[in-house]
Subunit: 323 residues, 2 copies
């Protein structure tokens, strides 16, 4: 089985490659070739036991998509995107990369010989949902993006479903929740504090909490997110029907739930590392975010995530701090 | 007030121009100029009392959009589209016209001098909804297009809302239901029978009913549809918020309801003109269509349609048969 990962140098891309190399297979099929594509060279994994090619390419450049899919990969993970903040700052770039380049990829697939119909796993986002939102969002709830990023993701969900229905690709768009605990250094994302109030104390550092403890949000671990991608790559398309966008499972937790889980795991000293410094701008942004989903359809299809925040902390410690 | 109608040679375009000429104003403002654009020359109305320009142009051609909006119209009605059947037969053409050309129009508006932010009234469609559907579709129900046409309309709804939120246009997408009674000759649309079983008997001709009498659907008259467009052009944008796609009101009626209304209006002889000739293909297509909507948001914003099918027949007779 030939696998292509676009956006392989990112956090998710890197973890996905790690998982594929560890498994040596995707579902029931052995991996024969793995192609990594990103704007910067993705670190090829050491000694994977199959061919790995790492290519630097910009999918938004004319002709790039055709050469990227020329090897006719069986499964394509498309994880590359201009993130939310940048798509909001630079309207042209967001539409060029998140909408046009993805469309070029799908058109390039459609342009291949008759009979080529790869599984395309597309990383969509719960950013397709914006206010007003119910407390718990059902699978049939309409998308109402509050950002250009969310709008672009929702447009590709529609295109991917249509081209799948028309028989040109076999697509599935998975709406990724906010991943927690995100490894690495703090970043400037408005959602960063959900991870940093756990990650920094566990690493002996201070963290800032810019919102009140009753803020509620929807989380899977990075390990679960990779599980979503792998499951999406192998699930029987016939079970999906024509609507190819799926809201992924997660757990709904408040910041207070996070703090209590941290207290149970690492004690009062760790909790004292969290400093509440209210930030009105972040509070306002986060107020418009989804708090919980039903995600019944995805769960029925076998997607699963953690059940409580204690488990999310355990996964972080196992995967990032060596247990 | 300067008004631009793109798709002016179509059935809705023609009726909209008639209405604008009759009113001489749009909302509280006198019309100073009306520009008609279509692939074929739209018949300019006689003696309107304001300047009328009829232009033949293809919005999908490079540069066309910029020259179409160069006169900086205050209100733009964008009604031009490749219809459902053709967008299904010709994938490229559907995306080029329904998605790309509309995006070119919006980009051309964005490319004008700072401060130009026209009201854009976009004719979307209830084709953004596909199966599985509840018996009555609420305003928050997710879009699940079953056709490329519906997918393209839904993508533009997202783009229009995003560009409105970003301040580049002041857009509103109105999801038009199946208009009934459509004037003119029978056409090949799968929905044609909803109109022809009323229209043909009232004109002393026979009509074919390809589905069973319990088939239910959602209708406004052409007069109401023009009312939607005019109201959408004048409504205060602040009342709409960021979600700029609105499902239009209508009435839910079965084919049996239609036939009973015809019987009350024109008697048994007219009803005998309807010949039931079941068509499996049409029955299957129509089974996936919406049957009823809540349309609460649109009604609260002042959009309105007929209350019963008797009224729809009366409107047809008044507007098309001279009373």
């Amino acid at each position: 089985m030939r696998i292509l990962v676009i956006g392989a140098a990112g956090m998710l891309g890197g973890k996905l490659v790690e998982r594929l190399v560890r498994d040596g297979r995707l579902g029931s099929e052995r991996i024969s070739k793995l192609t990594l594509v990103d704007l910067v060279a993705a670190e090829p994994p050491g000694d994977p036991g199959f061919a790995v090619e790492s290519t630097v390419a910009d999918l938004a450049e004319p002709g790039a998509a055709a050469s990227i899919v020329a090897g006719r990969p069986d499964v394509i993970f498309h994880l590359a995107a201009v993130v939310s903040g940048e798509a909001e700052d630079d309207l042209e770039k967001g539409y060029r990369v998140n909408l046009d380049a993805t469309r070029m990829l799908l058109d390039a697939i459609r342009g291949c010989d008759h009979g080529y119909r790869p599984r395309v796993v597309y990383s969509s986002s719960i950013a397709v949902f914006g206010p007003p939102l119910p407390e718990v969002i059902g699978d049939d709830h309409g998308v109402t993006p509050a950002t250009s990023y969310g709008s672009q993701k929702a447009m590709i969900e529609l295109l991917l479903s249509d081209l799948t229905r028309r028989g040109f690709v076999d697509g599935i768009a998975i709406r990724l929740p906010t991943i927690c605990v995100r490894p690495g250094r703090p970043n400037l994302a408005a959602s960063g504090f959900f991870s940093s109030i756990i990650r920094e104390p566990l690493n002996g550092q201070d963290a800032v909490l810019p919102v009140s403890a009753d803020v509620r949000h929807w989380f899977p671990s990075p390990r679960s997110a990779i599980g979503f991608l792998v499951h999406a790559a192998t699930i029987d398309g016939a079970r999906l029907g024509d609507g190819r966008a799926l809201t992924m499972p997660g757990l709904t937790a408040t910041v207070a739930d996070e703090i209590e889980a941290l207290r149970r795991f690492a004690g009062e000293d760790a909790v004292r590392r969290i400093h509440h410094e209210p930030d009105e701008a972040i509070t306002r942004i986060v107020a418009g975010w989804p708090r919980a989903f039903e995600a019944r359809r995805a769960r029925a299809l076998g997607f699963s995530a953690e059940a409580d925040f204690d488990e999310i902390i355990r996964v972080y410690v196992e995967d990032e701090l060596g247990g």
